[in-house]
């Protein structure tokens, strides 16, 4: 329950950063999607039931902070989580470069799914053109943000004694040494 709430608070914090802080410094396309990084991380690190419930709620939070209707990011993020889950069984999830690759893939898939849903359900006209135009910048922003977060975690990890099974983090702990 504690971790569940922690993820939700982290999600709300990310949404606030994305909607109120990043716009002060970064252009529209260059604002990283921290919630996507959190969801990919959840897919690789958490047990399925907890990851699904948290993803649904994080999708709801993202929908409340963007777009026009509740449900878009709930569906898209759930699809991404399930895809990551399918892939994670065949991948070495403790490899940092792989995590970055997954974030690049996740960004592409998220944009395609958002575009597909908006065109299919909402008849949102030119949205695909807007999405594709912003995609390279979005990709770059997400990779840079993930890289910064990852390097930060890797630096802090020996001090914190991180638990095993964390995506992108090779298992180390204070007790067992590095």
């Amino acid at each position: 329950m504690k971790r569940f709430l922690l993820y939700l608070l982290a999600g709300l914090f990310c949404a606030l950063l994305q909607s109120s802080v990043f716009p002060l410094f970064l252009a529209v396309g260059l604002r990283p999607n921290l919630l996507l990084i959190l969801i990919l991380y959840l897919g690789l690190s958490e047990n399925l039931s907890r990851a699904v419930i948290v993803t649904l709620l994080l999708g709801g939070i993202q929908d409340s902070f963007s777009g026009t209707s509740l449900g878009l990011y709930i569906s898209v993020n759930l699809a991404i989580l399930l895809l990551v889950r399918l892939l994670s069984e065949h991948l070495n999830t403790e490899s940092p470069p792989l995590l970055l690759l997954l974030i690049a893939g996740g960004t592409l898939v998220q944009n395609l799914l958002v575009g597909f849903c908006l065109i299919t359900f909402a008849d949102a006209g030119e949205v695909m053109r807007i999405l594709l135009a912003a995609l390279p910048q979005q990709l770059l922003a997400n990779l840079v943000a993930a890289g910064v977060l990852l390097s930060l975690f890797l630096r802090l990890q020996p001090r914190l004694g991180a638990r095993s099974g964390m995506a992108g983090l090779i298992y180390q702990s204070k007790r067992r040494g590095s």
Partner: protein, 272 residues
């Protein structure tokens, strides 16, 4: 059958969950006017945090600009004094024009302006995605806001309210791909629909034979019942006419500067 269900239970569960979320999305799309309980709760929870972030940023910016970064202040002061003198002269001229306009409008009996109460609001957040164009303002249902109200700035139309919480509201900007506003070319009264293209606008359904030139001003037509007639939307920047076809392709730049949107006016109620 049971064996099949047992074997593929996780897959079937995942598919069912995905379908359920898509149905939720589809249902909410049909309920466009309504703000869901979940959204209201999240917006209510986030509004004070967003206001605090906005206030802190303003404070830090003021501190930096007014007390720390004072390079070229004297030169700027002299320049501003000069500008001030020029502006005062312009203002007197504008006042003269306003009085003249008032007299002429009275003479023609032409009422093409907003005459409704308006509520000022501050932009406290932007859209969390890269494709949607919405902003969050610091006024909500407690201040009398409801879904569908038009939002304007000094330059022109900004958008309309799409979600309301007690102390905040979400505004769909004119440039969002799902935004459409009934428009008129001011000079020729040619009708069309101004649609968002992310940064610019397109004027759809403008007849190929209609007289539109670059630089023409687009204003709201008053059709559709959301925006009052005569509000500035933007200026035509590009026109493409094919040899065949019913309509011409018209692109326009919005009058409002969405990259520096800080204060907006929300138009309340009906025409007085």
């Amino acid at each position: 059958m049971r064996k099949f269900l047992n074997r593929y239970r996780y897959f079937l569960l995942a598919v069912a969950l995905l379908l359920a979320t898509l149905m939720l999305y589809s249902y909410n799309l049909r309920q466009k006017g309504a703000t869901t309980f979940f959204e209201r709760a999240v917006l209510t929870l986030a509004a004070p945090l967003q206001s605090s972030i906005d206030a802190s940023t303003d404070y830090l910016t003021d501190l930096w600009k007014n007390y720390l970064w004072l390079v070229d202040t004297r030169q700027r002061n002299l320049q501003l004094e000069k500008e001030n003198r020029e502006l005062r002269a312009s203002l007197r001229q504008v006042e003269e024009f306003r009085l003249q306009n008032e007299r002429l409008r009275h003479l023609l009996g032409f009422v093409d302006d907003i005459d409704r109460p308006a509520l000022p609001a501050q932009v406290i957040g932007e859209d969390a995605s890269s494709w949607a164009r919405t902003v969050i303002v610091d006024k909500g249902s407690l201040s009398g806001l409801r879904d569908g109200l038009p939002v304007v700035s000094a330059e022109g139309v900004v958008g309309r309210v799409i979600k309301t919480a007690p102390n905040s509201a979400r505004v769909l900007l004119l440039t969002d791909a799902s935004s459409a506003v009934a428009a008129l070319v001011q000079r020729t009264r040619t009708r069309g629909v101004a649609r968002g293209l992310g940064v610019d606008l397109s004027l759809d359904y403008a007849l190929r034979k209609a007289d539109i030139v670059e630089g023409d001003l687009l204003v709201t037509s008053g059709m559709g019942g959301i925006f009052p007639k005569g509000l500035t939307i933007g200026r035509v920047t590009q026109i493409k006419k094919d040899e065949f076809g019913l309509f011409q392709e018209v692109k326009a730049t919005p009058a409002a500067d969405f990259s520096h949107l800080e204060e907006v006016l929300i138009i309340l109620g009906e025409d007085e």
